[in-house]
């Protein structure tokens, strides 16, 4: 049967057949891509409890498990991230100079997280604090707050 003589119907059915296969393959491909985007994370939650306010002395305390600094001024708390905004290394608190130093490319931040040397593009973020029902400080590292933020503990 020559192509010219093929009835419309057959061409139409062929068209449906071909595109069904394409659609099926596209769906499978979509499934593969979806598989790679995780639904659950085996990571600590972004909102987590620290300790009770009374456990933190005056000044800057490094919390290595969550890579952040708890800063206490009498009864006012704030939390600064210890992850350098350049490429993710953990900065070190240099109490003598009252600054944060990053060992990777030499970025330096003042005590309030503002950068004053090195390639880091943004200041160290501050995270908001709240109090849990049983008296623990709770950090929400999914949000950031400006450097005027203070959390007062009664």
């Amino acid at each position: 049967m020559s192509p010219v003589a093929e009835p419309e119907r057959r061409r139409f059915l062929q068209w449906i057949g071909q595109w069904s296969v394409v659609a099926a393959i596209a769906t499978q491909f979509g499934g593969v891509v979806r598989a790679f985007v995780p639904r659950v994370l085996y990571e600590p939650s972004k909102k987590f409890k620290l300790g009770k306010p009374a456990q933190y002395p005056e000044g800057v305390t490094f919390v290595p498990t969550h890579k952040l600094f708890v800063v206490r001024e009498r009864n006012q708390f704030h939390v600064i991230s210890a992850v350098c905004t350049h490429l993710g290394c953990t900065v070190e608190w240099k109490g003598e100079g009252r600054q944060f130093d990053c060992p990777c490319h030499g970025s330096k931040f003042r005590a309030d997280g503002q950068r004053f040397a090195g390639p880091a593009p943004r200041p160290l973020p501050w995270y908001p604090l709240s109090m849990s029902g049983d008296g623990f400080l709770v950090v929400d590292s999914a949000k950031t707050v400006p450097s005027t933020y203070r959390f007062a503990v009664v």
């Binding site: 456990q55 002395p57 005056e58 305390t61 490094f62 009498r74 070190e92 003598e96």
Partner: protein
């Protein structure tokens, strides 16, 4: 046999390359089959034969030997060279050090090899099979073998340096037989009431850092500018205990006038406090005395308000320079005495001299030296106050008669 029809291109280079690759492979095989542990075991065998112990010589293994500790998630291969560690091969007298069995110390019965291995007590890198690697004298292994030479660098005996390892597990004990220095350290720690200022295990004070895992602190974060000698955490601790003000600028920690031995005891104690987890069967039965009542400042009290400008200024200094972490004005003693009425008990000149350098005043006054016993033998640390601040403080305290 046919002859190749084509001329032999690359004949000589190919020959050289073939022979070179063979030689390279043979060198590799030689290195694989003559590792250090093999040579050590061979040497031991030969030695035993020269002493006529042929049965013992036959018992020397020719393989990597290891103690596998799945509960502690580690492996100790020290016994590949220290083959006779348990005396199972030979009990001849006067063996060279490498071949001697482990001395039978009193606590060995409670710390048998199959359960504890070697590195739990001695340090080093159990995974390695060559001397330098096993003794941990390599870059990137921060748990070196605790040797006599390393201990001598700190003026300690090897058994004393090893107390760091003991106390990592025996932390809950008040005293442990065999841990003389650290036992002393724990005693000093309790008597001097360090927890008044330092946090510890969920409790303690707020005046300074939490010491619960002090041994895990990154040495790079310690200030070494005033430390003499090697830049090690142990050195830092010893010199810091001997004089906190020298090592940490504007330190608020009192100088307890510790002697060298006491400073070392406390330093070993600090370094032994590390994060470690092990299964229940390893937890030692704690030897604890009944707890004494510890005075501890949990909430720093606000100093009472003042009237009039100079007194208000004094109140500001009182709060901002940390006087209120140790003293109250009315309300009883904390770490230091209640300061209400102090201006009636002491004249202004005495107070000014005291605030300038308390330790000097105590050194000159014998009565004061016994009086500090009431306050845990703590002498008020020099707060680096200037004259203006001292005047303001005295004006403030004058407002509160006793």
């Amino acid at each position: 046999m046919h002859r190749s029809f084509a001329p032999n291109r690359d004949f000589w280079p190919l020959l050289v390359a073939s022979i070179a690759s063979l030689i390279a492979v043979l060198v590799v095989a030689y290195r694989e089959y003559t590792p250090e542990w093999h040579r050590q075991q061979e040497a031991f065998r030969r030695y035993l034969r020269t002493r006529g112990a042929f049965a013992a010589a036959a018992a020397v293994p020719d393989n990597v030997e290891q103690i596998w500790l799945p509960a502690l998630d580690r492996v100790d291969r020290c016994i590949s060279c220290h083959v006779n560690y348990d005396g199972s091969i030979s009990t001849l007298p006067d063996l060279p050090p490498l071949y001697r069995p482990h001395p039978d110390l009193p606590y060995m019965a409670k710390h048998p090899f199959p359960t504890f291995g070697c590195t739990s007590c001695h340090g080093g890198q159990g995974y390695a099979t060559d001397e330098a690697g096993a003794h941990g004298l390599v870059k990137h292994w921060d748990d070196p073998l605790l040797t006599t030479a390393l201990a001598a660098q700190y003026g300690l005996a090897r058994a004393q340096l090893m107390e760091i390892k003991c106390n990592t597990c025996h932390r809950p004990d008040d005293t442990t037989p065999g841990m003389d220095l650290i036992n002393m350290g724990k005693e000093i720690f309790a008597k001097k009431r360090c927890v008044s200022c330092h946090g510890l295990e969920g409790g303690g004070g707020l005046g300074s850092s939490d010491l619960t895992y002090d041994g895990d602190n990154n040495p790079e974060l310690l200030p070494f500018s005033a430390v003499e000698g090697e830049k090690t955490a142990l050195n830092w601790q010893i010199q810091h205990f001997e004089s906190p003000q020298k090592i940490v600028e504007r330190s608020g920690m009192p100088n307890y006038r510790l002697n060298e031995e006491q400073a070392k005891a406390l330093s070993l104690l600090m370094l032994s406090w590390r994060r470690i987890s092990f299964p229940p069967q390893y937890v030692p039965a704690a030897r604890k005395r009944p707890p004494a009542i510890q005075p501890v400042v949990r909430e720093v009290p606000a100093p009472p308000p003042a009237t009039g400008a100079p007194a208000e200024q004094g109140r500001y200094v009182f709060e901002n320079r940390g006087c209120n972490t140790c003293h109250r004005v009315g309300g009883g003693p904390l770490i230091g005495p209640d300061l209400a009425g102090v201006t009636q008990r002491r004249d202004e000149r005495w107070l000014a001299t005291w605030l300038k350098d308390p330790a000097a005043v105590v050194a000159k006054d014998e009565k004061l030296q016994t009086w500090t016993h009431e306050f845990g033998d703590i002498i008020m640390p020099d707060q680096n106050l200037n004259d203006e601040e001292i005047k303001a403080l005295i004006a403030y305290m004058r407002q509160f008669p006793g």
